[in-house]
């Protein structure tokens, strides 16, 4: 145990060889979260409407104000304009054609997602108007949302970035420092040292785990401070991260061992971290996207991790389709990663052929 603690202490001393790399790897996801939380999609959309002169137009504007969530924000922020040109976005104008009134929405060069959002909002506003006109004939939709409140997207987005923060810190620092051992020639010490290599690897993994937890905790704190929503169990969230951190550490260390160069190691850590984040339910629960996306997403370790974390942020609601299978999947990935790391370490460091 004493030898392990000495090795661990030595591992932590390597922080001094690359403090800036450590700080970047630990803080970058938090910085990204803070910046992206500002531009994150929000349900409230600005809609440019040509200032109406008729009483019908005034009723339309009143209907626009009705479109929204009873337990959340309004969905339309009307911007009254005089110019019927759509500019780079859109404009709604009430026009008369053959004695009928029409709300004409003209779009600029925008994408199908924006068209969908603007079209839906206009339809919702006009339906309000139509329902008022229909009176008792109009159909009422009684809403039964899953949760007592509409939870801001920034909560999910931040929660899904916690695994990214942990992964990036572990993989990047693991890969970088391992590659540095080759670049600086200190790998020779590992070849010659009498200590058993599992102990050396255990010290490295432990250190990377602590670094990864630091990155994840910082992001967690900012998530809570920005959204005001905290998980119901702090410890559970971080216990769930352990398999992912081990997998990331193994991938990072193996990248350093294989490439012997810090730049490709960094590239591998970066590409895998972002690919896992994006495909691994980073933007929404996998089940909410296309079937093929869900199937691929379920192969990524981030997806079961996020599904396990979900209840701790969302009133205890379970979303894991097969919790036991997800656990087994993570255990399998972790064991495979550890075995792969041992194999690569033996081949690249201890092999007599080298």
């Amino acid at each position: 145990m004493r030898r392990f603690s000495l090795l661990l202490r030595n591992e932590f001393k390597s922080f001094l060889t690359a403090p800036v790399v450590h700080l970047i790897a630990i803080l970058q996801p938090t910085l990204m979260y803070i910046l992206m939380s500002v531009i994150m999609v929000v349900p409230t959309f600005e809609m440019r409407i040509v200032n109406p002169s008729s009483s019908l137009g005034a009723r339309f504007i009143a209907a626009v104000d009705e479109v929204g969530s009873p337990i959340g924000p309004d969905y339309i922020e009307p911007i009254l304009v005089d110019d019927p040109s759509p500019g780079f976005r859109q404009v709604v104008e009430i026009i008369e054609t053959d004695g009928n009134s029409t709300a004409l929405q003209t779009y600029g060069y925008i994408d199908s997602n924006l068209v969908k959002n603007l079209r839906n909002r206009l339809t919702a506003a006009l339906l309000v108007l139509w329902n008022i006109d229909l009176g008792d004939q109009g159909i009422t939709i009684h809403e039964h949302p899953w949760l007592p409140n509409d939870i801001p997207y920034t909560v999910y987005f931040g929660m899904a970035m916690i695994p990214l923060a942990a992964y990036l810190a572990a993989a990047m620092i693991g890969g970088y420092l391992m590659a540095q051992e080759f670049e600086n020639g200190t790998i020779l010490i590992y070849r010659l040292c009498p200590t058993s290599y599992p102990l050396i690897l255990a010290a490295k993994l432990t250190r990377l785990m602590i670094i990864a937890f630091t990155g994840a905790v910082i992001l967690y704190l900012f998530l809570g401070l920005i959204t005001g929503i905290w998980s119901s169990s702090f410890i559970a969230v971080f216990v769930i991260l352990i398999p992912l951190i081990l997998i990331a550490s193994c991938i990072g260390l193996a990248a350093g061992l294989i490439t012997h160069s810090s730049l490709p190691s960094f590239l591998i850590a970066l590409a895998s971290a972002f690919a896992f984040w994006l495909i691994g339910s980073g933007f929404g629960l996998a089940a909410g996207f296309s079937t093929i996306f869900e199937k691929i997403s379920r192969l990524i370790p981030n997806t079961p991790i996020i599904e396990m974390m979900f209840p701790y942020f969302y009133y205890g609601r379970q979303v894991a389709a097969h919790p036991l299978a997800a656990n087994l999947q993570l255990i399998g990935y972790t064991l495979f990663s550890l075995i792969m790391l041992v194999f690569v370490y033996q081949k690249r460091v201890l092999s007599k052929d080298r």
Partner: protein, 371 residues
């Protein structure tokens, strides 16, 4: 000129020894493109169950309306109604296998006929307020179509739409152009880093610093080579987009190269400074690459800057990517000449000159060991 050519070839040979690193502009961008294509390129209909308890015909008419109302996002219905019995539906809903359940009550048709406050119960997911919003506004589309279908009296206001082009550009295409620009940026950064890195590892920086000639002889070939590789990375993605999504700038390719190249020059100078000035070389590399990634996300990589101008953060405006991305979209996606081409070009030239001036200043001071 011959000296420049020799130095250029030397730098090129340096690059040839680490071709995997030169893929830095391609590998991360490729993963990002695939990820977004998987996220937003597939069918995005909300899977729901409809429990139709209606004793009359209107309930069935409503169920038949769901597949008829098409979303412009992916030209698929807003809702994919799954055939589940009531127990299966609730089980699937509780484990988030479906997005929602609509329950049509027994007396639905009767109430519609009598004009007596017909209603529907809608159970839906709201773990994310944006998805909850979609449920509410999608349901309006369904009711709007249903009202027309059953022949209720005409609405006070009908809906009409006008588009600037006969075809709509989808979201993945918009993102793909952000990725082209990211690829040029990362390609330039990575290649500049490998060139400065090799110089440091080969310990030739001292020779450079002691050179009696101007250091421009060293810095210009590196910058030109890194810019060319950045543009090559971006062009690879343009070709991918051409064959996958069908967009190509055609005769305006030079304008795309010009705008993207100027953005690349800015980031290459940042990389040069970070590579030479940062005490730890890799810290500079990591910092500038992750910085470029952040700017991709906040500077119009995922949506059009012009259409969301108010939500662009001030930090994004400090980088050229935010200005360049929409004119490049005009050229590639819409095949139109950007109305703001000249102002954007001047801004990008300004960014490039600023970066070259300060990049060279700092790099020369570092190489000459004046600091």
């Amino acid at each position: 000129m011959r000296r420049l050519w020799i130095l250029f070839k030397t730098e090129f040979n340096v690059w040839r020894h680490d071709p995997i690193t030169a893929m830095g502009g391609i590998i991360p961008c490729f993963f990002i493109l695939i990820a977004f294509a998987l996220l937003f390129g597939g069918r995005l209909s909300f899977p729901i169950a409809v429990i139709n308890n209606d004793q009359g015909d209107y309930g069935q008419l409503l169920v038949e309306t769901f597949p008829e109302v098409i979303s412009p996002l992916d030209n698929q219905p807003y809702y994919a109604v799954l055939s589940l019995n009531e127990d299966e539906a609730w089980l699937a809903y509780q484990s988030y296998q479906i997005e929602g359940i609509w329950i049509i009550p027994e007396e639905f048709s009767e109430r519609i006929t009598a004009g007596n406050e017909p209603s529907i119960d809608m159970h839906f997911m709201n773990y994310n307020d944006d998805r909850a919003k979609n449920h509410r506004i999608y349901s309006s589309e369904i009711l709007w179509a249903f009202y027309h279908k059953i022949g209720l009296e005409e609405p006070l206001l009908e809906i009409a739409e006008e588009y600037p082009l006969p075809e709509m550009v989808d979201w993945v295409s918009v993102i793909s152009i952000g990725i082209v620009l990211l690829s040029v940026t990362l390609g330039g950064i990575f290649n500049m880093f490998i060139l400065t890195y090799k110089a440091q590892m080969g310990k030739v920086t001292l020779e450079m610093g002691l050179s009696p000639r101007s250091l421009a002889w060293v810095l210009v070939p590196k910058t030109v080579l890194a810019t060319l590789f950045g543009l090559a990375s971006g062009t690879v993605f343009l070709v991918v987009i051409r064959f996958w999504l069908g967009f190509w700038p055609g005769g305006n390719l030079w304008a795309v190269w010009l705008l993207a190249g100027l953005v690349g020059v800015f980031w290459i100078q940042v990389a040069l400074v970070m590579g030479l000035i940062a005490r730890n070389y890799m810290a500079g590399a990591i910092g500038s690459v992750l910085g470029a990634m952040i700017i991709f996300f906040v500077g119009g990589g995922l949506s059009m800057v012009r259409a969301h101008q108010d939500s662009v953060t001030w930090i994004a405006w400090l980088f050229p990517n935010t200005y360049a991305v929409d004119p490049i979209r005009d050229l590639v996606l819409f095949n139109t000449w950007p109305v703001d081409f000249m102002p954007v070009l001047l801004k990008l030239v300004g960014f490039a000159i600023f970066a070259i001036f300060f990049g060279s200043l700092f790099s020369v001071r570092k190489l000459r060991k004046l600091d």
